[in-house]
Symmetry: C2
Subunit: 150 residues, 2 copies
DNA sequence: GTATCTGCAAAACATTTGCAATTCT
DNA sequence: AGAATTGCAAATGTTTTGCAGATAC
C-alpha cells in the first residue's frame, strides 16, 4: 500500500490527542487514514499481521477504542455483523453497497439535514447511512445481462 | 401489556406478506407493533417466554429475519452490541439515548433530507441515527445536581 | 402424509477481560 | 525501577446452523 502520510506525522498527531504513539498505534492509525474502505478490526488485523507478526487483535480493539474515545475516529453503524471505523469524524454520509459490501462516503452539510429533534433532546452525533447498490456494481449487473430485467 | 392490534388482524397482515401466521410469529409480530421500545431479539424473547414456555430464541431470530426479508420490519443499526428491530418501515429518524438506552423515533420527511448520492448510486433504504441525551435523562441530571456543571 | 415450522444444542463469530510478559523512559 | 502497552487465552454475548420432533394443511 502506498502511504500518503508519514509515520512521524502520525506520531505527532496522536500525541496531540493524548495518545502515546506506540509502534502498533501508529501503524493502525496509518492504516485507517490511508484506506477508504472503512475497515473493521479484523480487516485491519489481517492487513497488518503479516508485517507485524506479534500483533494481536486485542491491540487493534484497544487502539481503535482509544481513537474513538479521543475523538479522532468514529465507529460507524453500517454493518450488522461487525463494527467498522472511520478516521473522518466530520459530518458526512455513508453508503453501504449490498453487493460488494464497500462503504462509500458522500457529502452532507448541515443544511442538507433539516429535521428537528423532540423538545429537550440533544444529539452529540448524527449518522446517515444508506443501503443500496453502488455505481460499479450497477454497471456490472447491466453489462453481465444487458437485457435481463433483474 | 395492552394489545392495540387484534391477533386475527395480525394473522391476515402476515399472510398478505407471504408469511404463514403461526402462533409464535403472530405473538412476535404483535409484540413488535405494540411496543415503541425498538426491541432486540432478547427483549422480545424475555417478554414472551413466560407466556410461551416452549419458545426458543431461534424462533425469534427466524421470525424477525423473515419480517425484514418481507419488508414489514427493519433492523436498525443503533446499538453496537445487539440488533434492534422496528415494525415501522417508513422514513423516520432514530434517537438513541446514551444514558437510558431508549430508542426514540422522530419525524423525518423526504424534504428534510437534501443530500445527493454520487452518480449511479441507488439507495433502497436510508437510516438517520442520532446519539445523545433524551429529555427525560436531561431532566434527571439537572434535578439531581442543579448547580453542578456536569 | 408431506411440507413447513419449531426448539434445542452446538458452533461460529465479534468483542471484552484478566493477567503476565514486554517495552519505554 | 515504574508506568504504560501489548499479547495471549479464556470468558461473554450475539447470531447462525443442523437436526430431530412437532405442527399444520
Amino acid at each position: 500500500m502506498e502511504y500518503l502520510v508519514k509515520e512521524s506525522e502520525s506520531g505527532n498527531y496522536l500525541n496531540e490527542h493524548g495518545i502515546k504513539p506506540s509502534y502498533q498505534r501508529i501503524r493502525i492509525w496509518n492504516y485507517l487514514i490511508n484506506t477508504k474502505e472503512h475497515p473493521s478490526v479484523d480487516m485491519i488485523y489481517r492487513s497488518l499481521a503479516p508485517d507485524i507478526p506479534t500483533l494481536s487483535r486485542s491491540t487493534v480493539y484497544n487502539s481503535l477504542s482509544l481513537f474513538v474515545e479521543r475523538g479522532i475516529a468514529q465507529s460507524i453503524l453500517i454493518d450488522e455483523s461487525e463494527t467498522r471505523y472511520d478516521a473522518d469524524v466530520s459530518l458526512h454520509g455513508h453508503f453501504h453497497c449490498r453487493i460488494c459490501g464497500r462503504v462509500y462516503d458522500f457529502a452532507l452539510d448541515s443544511s442538507s439535514l433539516k429535521f428537528r429533534l423532540p423538545q429537550g433532546f440533544t444529539a452529540d452525533s448524527t449518522q446517515v447511512c444508506c443501503q443500496g447498490i453502488c455505481s460499479g456494481c450497477a454497471d456490472k449487473k447491466s453489462s453481465a445481462s444487458p437485457s435481463a430485467a433483474r
